[in-house]
Amino acid sequence: METILSLKNLHKKFGAIHAVNDLSFDIKKGNVYGILGPNGSGKSTTLGIILNVVNKTSGNFSWYDGNLTTHQALKKVGAIIERPNFYPYMTAIQNLELVCKIKGVPFTKIEEKLKTVNLYERRNSKFSTYSLGMKQRLAIASALLNDPEILILDEPTNGLDPQGIHEIRVLIKEIAQTGTTILLASHLLDEVEKVCSHVVVIREGIKLYSGTVDEMVASHGLFELKVDAGSEKLIELLTKFEGIASIKTEDDKLIATLNKPLSASEINSYLFQNGIVLSHLVKRKPSLEQQFLTLTNKN
């Protein structure tokens, strides 16, 4: 698969703050990537660097295996960052015409893209009169003008109401279905889980995980167990049992994380033979949220 973007040992320091720390990952054509991290983890800075608005401190990044300069590559990219930035005194059409002039594409796409994001009726209103959701949709229309090979979105649903969030997500999924590569930065986990196929988790500028969403979520799962009395003995028995990696208490339940496949009946019969009768036993897969918190809480 063609590599669109590749980052190698990227660093960015703002004075004493190490915003991006030795970050490396590749973006392959056709996938939907999520960059996941808490607020202030360096997501936007990373995107700023690859989009040439933030200067890197050290390291490298290359577009299309270095076959294109960043300036050339940006013409094949559609990007929106944090907040939609347009000229407030221009209408939607005028703003998009300007973007067309900058990207060097004809005006013919404007109408189509405005219809895609449902802004065609408001095309002659000034940008300053738009609601945040409309501004965000205009930003997406603008990013789509050159039919980009890769779409970069930084917190696209930030500050929107539930309906606005839903609209943007539907839009992103539709775009992803057309085969456009997407790089989506977000601190909203369900957003990434719902939209992305791959994920890069960063915290304080350091990469914690990179791989598919399925792999990240896929572990052997965990058990929730509860007994009415004698939980000390239960813990003792579970610790001895092969296949259980760790045990922790959560409210009145025990959570046992597995390191090999194990069925509920196996563990149930083992405990029953040792004189423990469970009042509650559930096998679950961890959600992305749990995995994310596990990852970002370490160290």
């Binding site: 930035n85 000229y87 300007l98 002039k101």
Partner: protein, 275 residues
């Protein structure tokens, strides 16, 4: 180049504030012609300014470019705000992401500066031609085309002045502060001039000519003492006002160097900054 100019004009033409300022500027340029209407008619004293020779070729080139360059502050506001607004609207960041390089961004502004200066020079040329042919005592082609270097000086002066404004716009990112910074700089130059006169008394002009604003104002020297009527009066009170009023190539070179410095510094500043 045309693409960059086209992008910048698109930004300007849809901005009402810029349109109004540019419009006022050209109306004021035209209003130079109103000076012709200054007439005193008090009994025996008849005074008509247009008859005093200010619209005589080739003097008119000097006079009109000097007056017109006072109006450059209107366009300065347009230039400074077109730069500073890119920061306050964050559209600079968006432009770069959309695929404009930092170099192209600075160039698009610089081309606009050149275009505005060029239009001003052409405009002043036509206003002067019309006024000159209406009031001048001499309209022979050889006299009309004398001293046209004042128009060149006018153009160079505007380009340099606006480039300075562009640089300040990028440096301080706010239009009001950028105009303020320009005034502060003018005061610094004035202060430096005063200090030099006080300390050294002589050769001050040799040093001051290298300061940007001083160099720009040296391009077109004040035209009033050159006027025949003023000279006559001065002669009667025993003053000799004869000095060199012509445009000095050395001044043009100094101003061009400053223009290059301002534009290059704008680019370096933009390149170094994280947006």
């Amino acid at each position: 180049m045309l693409r960059l100019l086209n992008i910048e004009i698109h930004k300007l033409k849809h901005n009402r504030a810029s349109r109004v300022l540019v419009f006022i500027y050209f109306v004021l340029l035209t209003s130079i012609a109103l000076i012709a209407a200054i007439k005193f008619d008090i009994g025996p004293v008849k005074f008509h300014l247009a008859d005093q020779g200010i619209f005589n070729f080739p003097y008119i080139w000097h006079f009109n470019t000097y007056i017109a360059s006072i109006l450059k502050f209107f366009l300065l506001l347009v230039i400074v705000s077109m730069m500073a607004n890119e920061y306050s609207n964050k559209t600079l960041k968006q432009n770069l992401i959309d695929g404009l390089s930092k170099k192209e961004f600075v160039l698009s502004k610089f081309y606009t500066v050149i275009l505005l200066a060029l239009i001003s020079a052409v405009f002043v040329f036509f206003v002067s031609m019309i006024l000159g042919y209406s009031y001048s005592d001499f309209t022979e082609l050889s006299i009309v085309t004398t001293d046209l270097e004042y128009l060149v000086a006018f153009f160079v002066k505007l380009v340099a002045f606006f480039s300075f404004g562009l640089f300040l716009g990028i440096l301080v990112k706010r239009s009001a502060f950028a105009v303020g910074a320009m005034l502060v700089w003018a005061m610094i130059e004035g202060f430096a001039k005063g200090m030099l006169y006080w300390k050294f008394e002589e050769n001050v002009a040799n040093v001051m000519q290298f300061f940007p604003l001083e160099a720009m104002s040296n391009l077109i020297k004040e035209p009033f003492t050159r006027l025949g009527a003023v000279k006559t009066v001065a002669k009667q009170v025993g003053e000799d006002l004869s000095k060199d009023f012509s445009v000095q190539p050395k001044d043009i070179i100094i101003v061009l160097i400053w223009t290059a410095i301002f534009i290059y510094a704008s680019y370096v500043l933009l390149k170094k900054r994280d947006l």
